[in-house]
Structures are given as structure tokens and as C-alpha cells.
């Protein structure tokens, strides 16, 4: 399973989101630190789920980090997050 697919499956399982876009943006960061051939290092995630509605911005991000888990977060170099309730 690619990193993108892992991100998608863990977030779907945790939040049953109304909207979930996982984009591998690694190519836009070619040559930057953390980048490697083949991509799967820099991601953009847009997620919307009702459970985020009552959370602050920091809480929303923490919930996403927790759902991904430290192992997966540790393998991602950069994660741009847009979380909506």
C-alpha cells in the first residue's frame, strides 16, 4: 500500500469523512530536504467530517495526527492539512 493509500484508509476509518482528498505533492518539493525519488514524502490532505465541528483548529490537527499514528506521521516529511467541520 502506498503512503497515500495508508493515509486515506486510516482517515476514512477514524472519521468517516464527508470529504477526503489526499494529494501527493512531493513533485512540487523536488530537491527539497526530505524529498526522495518516487515521491510519497510531501502530502496535502483536505478532510471534512462532522466530528471536527466542535474542535478548535489545534484539536482538529491533533485528531488527524492521532488517527494517522506516530509511525505513519514519522514516515511523512510534510503534511499540509485543511480540516473542516
Amino acid at each position: 500500500m502506498s503512503v497515500s493509500e495508508e493515509i486515506r484508509s486510516r482517515l476514512e476509518a477514524a472519521f468517516a469523512p464527508d470529504r477526503l482528498d489526499v494529494t501527493d505533492e512531493s513533485e512540487r518539493h523536488r530537491g527539497h530536504s526530505g524529498w526522495r525519488e518516487g515521491g510519497q514524502t510531501h502530502f496535502r490532505v483536505v478532510i471534512a467530517a462532522p466530528s471536527f465541528a466542535a474542535m478548535t483548529r489545534v484539536e482538529r490537527h491533533r485528531a488527524v495526527h492521532a488517527a494517522l499514528g506516530p509511525d505513519l506521521v514519522g514516515r511523512i516529511h510534510a503534511l499540509a492539512l485543511t480540516v473542516e467541520g
Partner: protein, 120 residues
């Protein structure tokens, strides 16, 4: 590690606005750090930049301290505000202005309005 934690705590509590970043405010070494430092610079906010690339203990220590896995991290008056995405969203929504006003941090409203106008 306790020393690092103490050092981080003292920095955050003793300085109004602190940005833990990759590189420095004058020479950022990461696009995300660069964006946050750029916003603060443009808004005329006085802040202390801590280059995590210069110290591996702080680089890991700040992530443990805030339970937040990424850099940059912005702190205002001892409180964790967020990383690049959150700061960007708050700049565009005006929440960052409100935070600075509530916390008594000087900034240029005119500059903040310019950022919003440019991104409208």
C-alpha cells in the same frame, strides 16, 4: 532531556512571540517555516526565531513539548498557536489579528489587510 524541556519552557514563557522554525527568519530553510516567518515579518510582529536545525535536542524536544509532530510551531505569550496551515488560515480569517489584540502583541493591521486583499 529535562534540560531541553526547561530551556524550551523558559523561552516560550519569557518571550511574547516565538517561532520554532527550520532556518532563521532572515534565511528560512523550509517553505513552511518561510511562510510563517514571512507573515510575521510582513505584519511587523517582533518575534524570536529558534532554528531547530541548529540543535537536534530542540528539534525533537519541541515536538515532544507540544505533542505536535511538525515544524514550524508558533507560540504567543506562552500558548501554542499552531503550524503553517493554522497560521495561514488564521491570518486570512482575521483570527490572528484578534489573537495579537487579545494578547497585547503589536502588529500592523494594515499589513494584515494587505495579505488578505492579495489572497482574496
Amino acid at each position: 532531556m529535562a534540560d531541553v524541556e526547561t530551556q524550551i519552557r523558559e523561552t516560550i514563557e519569557g518571550t511574547d512571540v516565538v517561532l520554532f522554525m527550520k532556518g532563521t527568519k532572515d534565511m528560512p530553510q523550509c517553505g513552511f517555516s518561510s511562510r510563517v516567518a514571512g507573515v510575521l515579518n510582513f505584519m511587523g510582529v517582533e518575534f524570536t526565531d529558534i532554528n531547530v536545525l541548529a540543535n537536534d535536542d530542540i528539534r525533537q524536544g519541541i515536538k515532544d513539548f507540544s505533542d505536535w509532530p511538525t515544524i514550524p510551531q508558533l507560540y504567543v505569550k506562552g500558548e501554542f498557536v499552531g503550524g503553517c496551515d493554522i497560521v495561514t488560515e488564521m491570518t486570512l480569517s482575521g483570527e490572528l489579528d484578534k489573537l495579537f489584540e487579545d494578547k497585547g502583541v503589536a502588529y500592523s493591521k494594515e499589513a494584515a489587510d494587505k495579505i488578505r486583499a492579495a489572497n482574496a
